[in-house]
Every structure is written in C-alpha cells, then in structure tokens.
C-alpha cells in the first residue's frame, strides 16, 4: 500500500511550525520559522518542510492547519483545528501516559486535561500577557540578554528576588527598578521564572493537575521555567526536544486520521 503523507502546520503568534508524517507514525520532515501569523513565516515554513522531505503539496493526502493563524491558510489547508486539540494529540503521541499538558506559547497559556489521548477539559489565560512567552521576551529585552539564554542564566541565581506575576507592564517596571539597584541579573531572571511559574501553576490548579505532566510550546525549552513550575506543582514535568513542534505534530496526526476516513 502506498505511504500516506500528511502535513500539520501550526501558525502561532511568534513562530510557524510544520511537521510531515508518513502513515501517521514517522516524522519525515519538520520546519520552524521564527515569525508567525500575518508574516511570510507560514509560507516559508511550508516551503522548507516540503523541500527538506523532498515532497510536493500534491503528495500530501491531507493538510491540517492549527494555531492562532490557522484561518489564514484557507484554500491551502484541507481543514483547521484549534491548537488546544492539536497539542493534546501531539503530546499524547510523544508521551502516551500524559494526563496534563501545559502549553506556554507566545501569547497564550493553555492547560489541557487529557484522557486516552483526547482533550477532556482545558483552561486558557485571560487577556493578559503575564505568564506567556511574550512576558519573557519583554523581560529579556529589558535585561539585554537573549531570551534563549534565560534558562542557563537563571540557574546561576544565588538569591531570591520577587517579581510580580500580576502584570507584564508592572513586572517590567520592577525589573528596571531591580537593575537600578544593581541586583544580579541572574537573580532577577530566576525571579522572572518564578513569576511565570506562579501564574501558570495557578491556572493549572484550576483544571486539576494529574501525572504525567508534559510541557509544550517554546517556553518549555527554558529550563528555569520548567524547574520553577516543577517546584510549584510538586511534580515532575516532561519535555521533548520536539516541544515547539507538538501542535504541528498533533495537526499532522489529525490529518492522518482524516486521510484514512
């Protein structure tokens, strides 16, 4: 029987990700472009994944879009789904025992309860940047460090510095105030991670956290946030090297299901 290729495209607020699957099992291509909805990112990510896998659009049995910009691919994608369902699906593929997914993206925090690979309940953050990837971007800019270095820098902290978890704007003022007092950057960064974790843990507890806990989204690459969240939830948090691709992976899995119908 011929191989069924499916493509999942996750257009987030800050990045565009694609995953191509063969027969709903094997990842044969992936791409990530660090700009998201409303930019050239989605098209570049699509071109890149097709090129890396040596495939054409016509060879895709089903294409499914997800993420904040999912509606922008009308005419190209065969179907679109919310990124919550796709993250639950993708996380279940990587971690079959998962019961709780914590997805911290560019502008959203989502907590998903998963039963037998399907989402059964969820919580999203309010219309507020606190606790999101954007929060970390803002803080990294103020601290004049690369957002990718926050995890390693925060690990060098020796002293607790409290940063508000209420509001990004107020928290930014607090960070500037700490810098003005010559507080060590690493301590401030650790405080920022604690702040994000506090916000996310509060949201997670509304849904009810159950093991296995999996963290997805770009912020899962920040070991400081993961550690702070583990401490606050009192549970081990699992992450994957494919953490940024989990939504696109879920979309490709749903696409395979659709293709087989």
């Amino acid at each position: 029987m011929a191989t069924i290729y499916t493509l999942g495209i996750d257009i987030g607020s800050t990045a565009s990700k694609c995953v191509m699957l063969a027969d709903g099992k094997e990842i044969v291509g992936k791409s990530l472009v660090a700009v998201g909805a409303g930019t050239s990112g989605p098209q570049r990510a699509i071109d890149e994944v097709l090129k890396s896998a040596g495939k054409t659009k016509e060879e895709m049995s089903f294409i499914l879009a997800t993420g904040y910009g999912r509606n922008s691919l009308e005419g190209f994608a065969d179907h679109q789904m919310s990124e919550l369902s796709c993250h639950a699906k993708g996380a279940s593929f990587l971690f079959p025992e998962v019961r709780t997914v914590i997805d911290i993206g560019g502008q959203d925090v989502k907590i998903l309860r998963v039963e037998n690979g399907a989402m059964t309940n969820f919580q999203m953050n309010d219309k507020c940047a606190a606790g999101t990837g954007r929060f970390l971007d803002v803080m990294a800019r103020v601290l004049e460090v690369d957002v990718n270095d926050l995890g390693t820098l925060g690990a060098k902290s020796t002293k607790y510095v409290g940063i508000s978890s209420t509001c990004t704007v107020f928290a930014e003022s607090e960070v500037i105030s700490q810098l003005a007092q010559d507080t060590d950057k690493c301590d401030i960064i650790n405080g920022i991670h604690q702040s994000v974790a506090g916000r996310v843990a509060g949201l997670a507890n509304r849904v009810g956290v159950q093991d296995q806990v999996v963290m997805t989204g770009g912020v899962a690459q920040n070991i400081g946030v993961v550690k702070a969240l583990e401490d606050q939830l009192g549970r081990k948090i699992h992450t994957s090297p494919l953490t940024q691709y989990v939504g696109a992976l879920g979309a490709a899995l749903f696409a395979y299901k659709k293709a087989c119908k």
């Binding site: 904040y68 919550l84 369902s85 502008q107 309940n121 969820f122 999203m124 219309k127």
Partner: protein, 378 residues
C-alpha cells in the same frame, strides 16, 4: 414574508439604533434612554414615550467617558456615557439610570454631572430587600419618582389605566420572547446565534407592541417548520451581554447552537411578568421582587446555591451539552458569583468555559480558539 426576511428586519433594527431614534423623533415622539437593569420600562410606555435600551456599543471607542470613569468601570456603562457625550444620544428626552450594581450606582452621578442640563436624568434605586412590605413600598416610592419625572417630560400625567395597559403590552412581549427562545432552540439551523441575538436585541429599540406583533408573526412561521435534527453541539450562554456579531460568528463557524441563555440582556430581562390587575405600581414593585436566580439581586437563600442549580438545570433541560460564560471585564457581581456557578455546573458534570470579554474588543482570536476547543471537548 420569509422567516429569513423577518429576521433580517429585526437585525437591521438591532444594528441601527441611531436610525430608530431619528425615526421616532421625526414622528414627533419623545424618547427615553434606559440603562441596565430592571428599569420599569412600562412607565415610559404608559407615558406615551418610547423607551430605548442603552447597553453600550460594539462600535464606539471610549474617549470622552474616561474623563469621568476609573479604568475599572465596565465598558457597557462607559460606552453609554460616551454616547451621551459624543452627541449620539442628543435627541433623547431623558435617561433612566438604575443603580443595582456597584458600577452603575456611582455611574448614575457621573451621568448627571457629565450631561448637565442637556438631558434630564432620572435616578432609580431599586431595593435589594425587595420582598417585605417596606421593601415593596420603597420600590413603589422609587417608581413613583420615576413616574413623576416622566410625567414632567411628557407634559401630561399618566393614569393607572395607562400603566395597566402598558403592563399587558409588556407581558405579551415577554411571553413572545420566551416562546422565541424555545423556538430558536428547536430551529437552531434557521435561527443562528447571530440572528437569535439580533431578534432579541431589536426589542430594546422598538415600541413593544410593534415589536411583539412582528415577533409573534415570526414565531408562528417558525412553528410551521419541523424541529431540526441538529448535528452540531448546543450550549447555554451566560453573562451580561452577548451581542457582538463577530463573537457570535465563531459559534456558527464551529456548528455551535445556543439552546438557551442566562444572559442579562436576553432571557434574564424577560423571565418575570407583572400582574395585570390591581394597583399597577404595586404590580411593578412585585414584579421586581419576583426576579429570582439573578446575579445582581439579594437572595436570602444564597447559601443553597439556588442560582447555580437553576442554571445547571437550564443546561440539562434545554438539551445543551455545556455552558459558555462571557465574563464582562470588571463586572464584580458576575466575578463574585462565578465560583458558585462553577460549583453547581461541576456537581452536575456540565462542562463550561469562562471567556473574558468587553465592548472594546475588536479581535476575537483567543475566544475563537477557546470556543473551537470547547466544541471539540463536547
């Protein structure tokens, strides 16, 4: 006339209150703006004037109102003031300002100061202790003040018979809206969430007898249709107001129908009728006392969580699979009541989501994601 045409007519009225106001004025009618909640509109009708609801706007931007309001005022109240300040409502002959919530209470004074002598404002303080004889008497006294001021604006005294007649007109209108809500559930393939909202919203911008005649005609046509076999999901909506077409379009995109509502701007406003005989002022006061399961009103048995159970039952009885709560930003009563509603829904195993909204929202990306995901869960 086709059902679609009839609903489009309601929609045209719901989306163009300015035109309605201008038309009423061109006909020589006097128009009274009525802010939320539970103002006795019957008195305006009895005075021979037109009551028009003032529940904010989905199109205006708050600018002038900021001079009078703290940041944490709800956008419905701020936008009502904005429209009084920017000339949109200059043609009004008066405004009734009820004060049942903590925002509207101080806001009533902001209205008075901001409008000055331009438009008469009629202050109305409902009693929270509304059941005992002294609570009823307080309500009658308040309504009597409203009646006197309306008489001054209209230039003639309304009679008790005028009020009894108005009560009959309003009872008929409430009955027609209650029937429409049930029919909208039975025929949710035709009465989409957007059209359902528009039909109910139009009631705030029409004389009730004219509105009711049109709605009864629509109801009769809907009754002729077979009950639809809905393949999508059904939900109950809850909150203060759910009328933004962009938000309601998300329901339609995801095959979500509205089975019933617990929305202040919709069903909460027409659940209770007034007695059509006896003292009409007492009838209106008793009508207010009879309002139950209401976020904004005192419930002597609140520890029993009757309201939460009422809403949970509404979900079950309407055939909905879940509830979507649209939480108006800075709405203290709704925020404080939410844990009790959640408790009742959880106890019955009814899934729900809470979405933060306000009338300044122009992008509904996050709401779209949450509603689509909720449909997946259901």
């Amino acid at each position: 006339m086709s059902i679609e045409t009839m609903m489009k007519e309601f929609q045209a009225i719901a989306y163009n209150p300015n035109k309605q106001l201008a038309d009423f004025k061109a006909q020589g009618k006097k128009v009274i703006g009525v802010l939320p909640y539970y103002a006795p509109e019957e008195l305006v009708y009895a005075a021979g004037m037109v009551p028009m609801g003032m529940w904010g706007s989905n199109n205006k931007t708050i600018s002038r109102a900021k001079e009078y309001c703290a940041t944490f005022y709800c956008t419905i109240a701020q936008l009502a003031l904005e429209m009084l300040l920017d000339g949109t409502m200059d043609q009004l002959d008066g405004v009734i300002t009820p004060t049942i919530c903590d925002t509207l209470r101080p806001m009533s004074q902001n209205f008075r100061v901001a409008i000055g002598d331009k438009i008469p404002t009629i202050f109305l303080a409902h009693p929270q202790n509304r059941f005992a004889s002294w609570g009823l008497q307080f309500c009658i006294d308040q309504y009597t003040n409203v009646r006197k001021m309306l008489d001054q604006i209209s230039g003639h005294e309304m009679t008790d018979e005028d009020i009894r007649n108005a009560i009959k007109v309003y009872n008929a209108s409430r009955a027609a809206r209650r029937e429409f809500v049930k029919l909208a559930n039975d025929h949710c393939d035709v009465v989409t969430p957007t059209l359902r909202s528009a039909v109910l919203k139009a009631s705030y911008f029409m004389l009730k007898d004219e509105y009711t005649a049109k709605l009864v005609a629509l109801n009769e046509e809907l009754k002729k249709l077979p009950v639809c076999d809905w393949k999508g999901v059904k939900v109950v909506t809850s909150g203060i107001i759910v009328d933004n077409p962009k938000l309601l379009a998300i329901f339609e995109e995801n095959n979500i129908a509205i089975a019933a509502d617990d929305v202040a701007h919709e069903s909460r406003s027409f659940r209770v009728d007034a007695a059509e005989d006896g003292d009409p002022m007492m009838a209106l006061a008793k009508q207010f006392a009879d309002v139950d399961y209401e976020v904004l009103l005192y419930d002597p048995k609140s520890s029993e969580n009757r309201r939460g159970e009422f809403v949970a039952n509404m979900v079950k009885e309407s055939g909905a699979q879940g509830l979507i709560l649209f939480m108006q930003q800075f709405c203290d009563p709704e925020e404080m009541e939410y844990p009790y509603l959640k408790k009742a829904l959880d106890a019955e195993g009814i899934p729900h989501i809470k979405l933060g909204v306000d009338q300044q929202m122009r992008d509904f990306g996050q709401a779209s994601t949450a509603i689509q995901a909720f449909a997946d869960v259901l």
